[in-house]
Point group: C2
Chain length 276, copies 2
């Protein structure tokens, strides 16, 4: 099984976007003019994690997401075979508007591609899930420093002893991302992220990592470790790697995701997330 | 200096009120029919901490509260000399509607009385501050167990190394109340109490007590210690004892408070607190 590397993989550290808006960024991606990661592209816009599955598995995956909304906040689901997602963008083509895709067969990565047109099938269903770029933007706007952003690292992610609620072939442990902060900032961060359930919402844990089955914070399962100062506590959020890991473990005949850091840029605005 | 004993002093553990509503409870108190503490009386109603000061000090005390809203959430301030507080109850008489008052001169308690009529002066200004009964009711309603309530004890309170923002003669350390809970409940409790800033709002700290200058949780400065389970963290809220302690330390010529646990019952409903 190929390991997922992380939902965001790169922090939202770009402050000036080269594109006027989300639609312009998608057009540049579609034409091949932009092949890089999407961190900070159209920064006021919501970006999404991608999960494409055959229709035969889609209903169970949707039920899995519905039962596990913190790791799997669904922003939109397509009609079977449809490449559009009108809820997320008027001109959006899911087969071309993500800079890099990963194709998995039976849980093994078989290709990384920049266009799904040749692979498209009439039974594919697309799920777009909320991602931590948006809630990290909200934390930064609230004045809460994020160490991995300051250090230019990927956020630290860990498998936990918390089991997700299973649905059909989809089951497995909750994966969390961890951000160290002072208690005062943690209290603030709970309030800020509780307002955005569409992008993971409030933390699932804080303090002693052993209580959720994390043996060593210095050894994340995904991403990079970060230092925790003596006056800080680790704060843990449900992570979008959870559905990726769960989907891989189910070894579906076909499964397509975004490549880490190469997300779908939607027309939704971060500022509207509390009201979705 | 007489030590304040605590804002609530008794937990909201009465489930059936002997009175139909807040006005009926106040009438029973006024007539002398009810002399006990007010915990659980008219349980859906907001109860308030009382602080009565001469007009010469009132402006500075109000500025102190304005600068320290978490320990000092002001629900209402009277006109000088006025015994009514129309914002908190149509027929309310502040000199008779609290079951027991404490009278302090130069920071020393000189009397505990059940009626202020004989002591009333035209220059007295009444402050009613939000109290933790209301937010504890919100926590219990959210399914968060409170150990001191379960054990029938007073909440544990501690002086901290956090200084309040001074105003005139009013200055001193923040006093906090502590409630142990699991991390999941702490995350929930932040969200529940953040919605009610009028009754202390979100916690000021959680986790390591040493970071806010508390040496030993087993030795509270006020109230009773409670056990903390291995899977729990201490969560600290700003406490209404803060303004009491600060006012005593300022040694005003005259100062009148409620007796611990004997609060003012207002017509405000707990359910309206998020919208005040």
């Amino acid at each position: 099984m190929t390991q997922p590397i992380g939902e965001g993989a790169l922090a939202p550290n770009r402050t000036v976007s080269p594109f006027a808006d989300a639609a312009a960024a998608r057009r540049a991606i579609r034409s091949g003019a932009w092949r890089g990661h999407t961190s900070g592209l159209a920064p006021a816009h919501v970006q999404g994690n991608l999960m494409i599955l055959p229709q035969a598995l889609a209903a169970e995956f949707q039920r899995f997401c519905q039962q596990n909304p913190k790791p799997c906040p669904v922003l939109a689901v397509s009609q079977p075979g449809a490449r559009d997602l009108p809820a997320l963008g008027a001109d959006l083509d899911i087969a071309t508007d993500v800079p890099a895709y990963r194709v998995f067969e039976n849980g093994e990565m078989v290709a990384e591609v920049t266009d799904l047109t040749g692979l498209w099938r009439d039974d594919l269903v697309t799920f777009v899930l909320g991602c931590s770029f948006s809630f990290e933007a909200a934390l930064i706007e609230a004045g809460i420093p994020l160490r991995h952003v300051a250090e230019g690292r990927n956020v630290a992610m860990y498998r936990t002893a918390i089991e997700t609620k299973p649905a059909g072939p989809f089951h497995g442990p909750l994966v969390v991302s961890m951000r160290p902060m002072t208690a005062a900032d943690a209290i603030k961060a709970v309030q800020v992220t509780a307002r955005v359930p569409a992008v993971h919402g409030a933390p699932v844990h804080l303090g002693d990592p052993g209580l959720i089955g994390i043996a060593d914070l210095a050894k994340p399962d995904f991403g990079d470790p970060v230092a925790i100062a003596p006056d800080e506590i680790p704060v843990f959020w449900a992570c979008g790697v959870t559905p990726q890991a769960v989907a891989m473990a189910a070894r579906p005949p076909l499964c397509i995701t975004h490549a880490p850091g190469h997300m779908l840029i939607t027309d939704l605005m971060n500022r509207d997330l509390p009201f979705l």
